[in-house]
């Protein structure tokens, strides 16, 4: 699944930062994942254990902040959670929406020694 490719890129980013800061070990990696990306935390963890072996990040804890999809109504400008099978604005019934959260996929920070 695409978690393998994503975990690989995530590891590259983490190791590049760790080397730049000349740290000995990465203890924790804080990730932000929008639910719309379909990325599954357990899968990332599984591949991470394998990919990070023998690197500065081996054994690092992964923390996932999952971001639920949010939309802004283009008609009334209100913010709301995007429900799974109903894409109408709960305030005015409008159905032209701007997705403002849920697509994230980034490394927030790393905790190092």
């Amino acid at each position: 699944m695409h978690e393998f490719a994503i975990t690989q890129s995530m590891c590259d980013i983490v190791l590049e930062q760790a080397k730049k800061a000349r740290v000995k070990k990465v203890g924790k990696i804080n990730l932000v994942i929008g639910e719309m990306t379909g990325v599954v935390g357990d899968c990332v963890q599984f591949y991470f254990d394998f990919i990070s072996r023998g690197t500065l990040a081996e054994g690092a804890a992964l923390s996932f902040v999952m971001v639920p999809p949010k939309a802004r109504c283009r008609d009334c400008d209100k913010l709301f959670d995007l429900k799974e099978f109903d894409w109408t604005c709960p305030y005015c019934g409008g159905n032209s929406l701007q997705i403002v959260a849920g697509k994230e996929l980034f490394v927030e920070s790393i905790e190092v020694e």
């Binding site: 930062q17 740290v23 032209s96 697509k103 490394v107 920070s109």
Partner: protein, 216 residues
């Protein structure tokens, strides 16, 4: 100690995609990334497009279908250059795979590059290739709830082709609410109803495609 990183995980892929786009631009090649679930009609649309544009637009094809080279062989019979990418069971194409495939495509001989992505509605959504337009094919037998199940794909598509409309009399599919759901989360999207079997709607798709090519 905490180090702020704030880096997009797909940024490396984005960079390679940007390089691919520059290469395509330098050769005046317009690239389309065709995505859908398996069996929605990507190969059929490519064949139809080649037939209709024969003698007018020089086309090349990149096939990213999972395991077989069956689609590549079918398309090769049409006399256009076809490059098969072997994803080794992977669920999507990425910019790196396109980059190596491009070195085997005779870019100076073509104007339009059609890329058949791996049949999957989740993974290809995140991975830009360097294409100019993303085209999503969704077919009648799959049902009209797909935008709700795979919103990111429908959000990112430049065009959505509703294929197999010849089957509308036999299956339950509300094209109007389907289109409305997509438009709700995608302001720019163009939606076409087509049938690769009967040829219905293919002209509209082609005229959109040719307009996009000429505008670039």
């Amino acid at each position: 100690m905490e180090i702020k990183v704030l880096k997009d995980i797909l940024s490396a892929n984005e960079q390679i995609a940007e390089r691919n786009r520059q290469l395509l631009d330098s050769k005046s090649v317009f690239a389309v990334n065709l995505m859908s679930s398996p069996g929605a009609g990507k190969t059929s649309l490519i064949l139809e497009t080649i037939k209709m544009l024969k003698g007018k637009t020089r086309i090349g094809v990149i096939e990213g279908d999972v395991s077989s080279s069956l689609d590549a062989e079918t398309i090769g019979k049409e006399g256009v250059p076809v490059i098969q990418i072997n994803t080794g069971g992977g669920c999507h194409l990425d910019a790196n795979m396109l980059s190596s495939a491009l070195s085997n495509v005779p870019l100076q001989d073509i104007e339009l590059l059609l890329i058949e992505n791996v049949g999957n509605l989740i993974c290809p959504a995140g991975f830009a290739l360097g294409e100019h337009k993303k085209v999503l094919i969704s077919s009648i037998p799959e049902g009209d709830d797909k935008p709700f199940k795979y919103p990111l794909m429908f959000h990112k598509a430049d065009a959505v082709l509703i294929n197999k409309i010849d089957l509308l009399p036999y299956l339950k599919f509300d094209t109007q609410s389907f289109s409305q759901a997509i438009r709700g989360i995608n302001e720019k999207v163009e939606i076409f109803q087509i049938s690769c079997a009967t040829g219905q709607g293919i002209q509209e798709w082609l005229s959109w495609l040719l307009t996009q090519m000429s505008r670039r």
